[in-house]
Amino acid sequence: MSTAIADRAPASGPESIQTFTVTVIIRRFLPGIDLEPRWEDFDVEMLPTDRVLDALHKIKWEQDGSLTFRRSCAHGICGSDAMRINGRNRLACKTLIKDLDISKPIYIEAIKGLPLEKDLVVDMEPFFDSFREVQPFLIANSKPKEGKERVQSPEDRARFDDTTKCILCAACTSSCPIFWTDGQYFGPAAIVNAHRFIFDSRDESNVRLDILDDKEGVWRCRTTFNCTEACPRGIQVTQAIAEVKQAILRGKP
């Protein structure tokens, strides 16, 4: 046991200090200064364990303080830093530099389909509006026993476990080609959050099925699976949308 543990230092542990230079090309847009977005190159010295967020911080803190992006927790749970990295939606704080092809520049731009505000920041209001529209809260008229929890079997709880993981980062919705061309479409994230309640055995409402049985609802989904590939939480988004379609056709489970 003892030697086994001592020998098993992680190959890419915190003590590796091999740095290398990466070129990061960022789509910049400073309102009031730039009329159109423009691409700007930065060279940064990075460690293999660094994340794309570290590269952005290095640029902001050491080269150009005006570079603007959202971030908070820096480990993939707050959902602030979804962006397009080499053409794919990801969280900057969950994308390790070493997992990208560093022989080429790293291209970073804001997520698509939402109004661009500044650099990597978009207006999130239309996204949250869709979320709020699906009534994303438990609707149950029956009263639980005074001072007691509602009973739910582990199987019933497991039924909607996947969609409870959503962090509302918008990586899925802003990777959806339908959403790019039709901003009225609810989009995958709102449907995922409807799914979370539709399949919760404690919920007693059909209202979300009516809301999503709409021309801007689930039927717009063309199952391109971009959303599932984009989800940093590994949620089976396309499957959840398919399950909501089934529930509309066959009634709430």
């Binding site: 003892s2 030697t3 543990i5 001592a6 098993r8 230092a9 992680p10 190959a11 890419s12 542990g13 915190p14 003590e15 400073l30 009031g32 200064i33 364990t49 902001k60 803190w61 050491e62 150009d64 303080g65 005006s66 603007t68 992006f69 908070s72 927790c73 820096a74 480990h75 993939g76 749970i77 707050c78 602030s80 969950k94 390790l96 500044k118 209001e125 709020r132 009534q135 994303p136 809260f137 438990l138 639980p144 001072g147 007691k148 929890e149 509602r150 009973v151 739910q152 079997s153 582990p154 709880r157 476990d161 409870t164 993981k165 959503c166 962090i167 509302l168 309640f197 919760d200 919920d203």
Partner: protein, 604 residues
Amino acid sequence: MPTESDSTVVDGVHYHQFDVVIVGAGGAGMRAAIEAGPKVKTAVISKLYPTRSHTGAAQGGMAAALANVEEDSWEWHTFDTVKGGDYLVDQDAAEILAKEAIEAVIDLENMGLPFNRTPDGKIDQRRFGGHTAEHGKSPVRRACYAADRTGHMILQTLYQNCVKFGINFFNEYYVLDLVMTPVTASDGTTSDKPSGVVAYDLATGEIHVFQAKAVIFATGGFGKIYKTTSNAHTLTGDGVGIIWRKGLPLEDMEFFQFHPTGLAGLGILLSEAARGEGAILRNSEGERFMERYAPTIKDLAPRDIVARCMATEIREGRGGGPNKDYVYLDITHLDPAVIDAKLPDITEFARTYLGVEPYTEPVPVLPTAHYAMGGIPTNVNAEVLSDNTTVVPGLYAAGECACVSVHGSNRLGTNSLLDINVFGKRAGNNAAAYALTVDMPPLPPNAADWVINLVESARASNGTERLSAIRKELQDSMDRNAQVFRTDETLNEVTRVIENLRERYKNIGVQDKGKRFNTDLLEAIELGFLLDLAEVVVYSALSRKESRGGHFREDYPTRDDANYLVHTMAYLTGDAHSADAGDHIRLDTKPVVITNYQPMERKY
């Protein structure tokens, strides 16, 4: 977003009126909003979108003696909380926390929170550090949980219910000042009463004054004074800093919790729930070293103790890795199915960030700055205090920014998600009830001037000092000198560093001169709060010449109840910008409330 339409604009400043204004949209703020919102006109003002708040990063669970899986009682929970806090806990508050825990968990379940369930469909519970049956005899299953994303589910559920109640949110509005209006009482004495807050709208750069009958601070912690921390980049202690600058006291600031199991080198948290589910801490020899230090509950000893034991193992040469500078969290003996069901997120963190497969390899871990036990002093009604006993009418605080004190010198795991729910609810209820009894206080003239000046002088700053360099030097020095182990010498060293950095801060340069989404400007202002608070933390730590809970002084290694069984109260006096902390910080003490439990030696 904000649905209220009756705001006015005067000289470019927006003015709003609400009965209750809540600063911060984490767990405590939104729990308060759910109480206040349906009763009075309420606004929540948040630097972030609500679902970005750091409550969402909490993992392991929320304590409540539901006794769903084994015998438990709120009285045992009270005792554990008091003992866990090394007897610096106010016992009346701890009793409220433990008693109201049960209702707090049921509230959340009824709101829709998807807790993990027992086979018969009740809320499942698991073990956590320092939570025991029969006053320390054995670990008890008290933590209610939703996999290892309990905080995420609490934050989501509270936001969902705020949507349901149509709460007004002002997202990405950064509150920078508490407005106080001088009021003359019938006996001729004058005192300051809160009349609102002033916020900077990050999207537009415009200033908003929120006039209010009651204000609740729920702004979270300030872990970013340290380098290695589980805290978000945005946790810069703005709310606590605002209160400090107003001349109101801060309590027990020397007590900061270092969570034992941060990913080595990164500080990202691996929940204590791992040890609750059976994970074991091992040194380089593979030894389960906690057996030597805490023979009864071993790896489930409270965090301050485990963090110190880990640091001791490393100091004595039993750390792992090429530099022998971390220990291991071992879950390789757990069934992968159990890991996937109960600890999915933290195992993914180890894979993503360290490239370690927790099914088969132990994970390198190190203590990480995690939680401020101290903060804005309140009574059990969440009312903010201006000294040991005097309430500031209409001002409330709850959550990590507050010090009730239910955590004393060391918080037990799962008691923070509990704290935000119990005292967030109390704050919301009490602020709404208060707002129903008073008229709208008048704003003082030029209420926004101080903030306009702060923002504009930061924007105009063209100095040669880089923000990031100052911040890094602060964080490095705090890690080196004011972490798990402290001495007079190390604390004096970091005092000198902070003094120097505060001088250099006057000469910073902000590169972004724009109005919209100016995060460069935001970081400059945040750094000012970090420097202020680090100074208070270190100054308070220097004065406590004993070791208790999260504050361990190598030069005074034992607890000294004769001299230090008291809370520290720090006041800003004199010129806040004078170099020497002693010129502008005054320390006082406040008695600890002891009801049922006399201080004993703390053994586990």
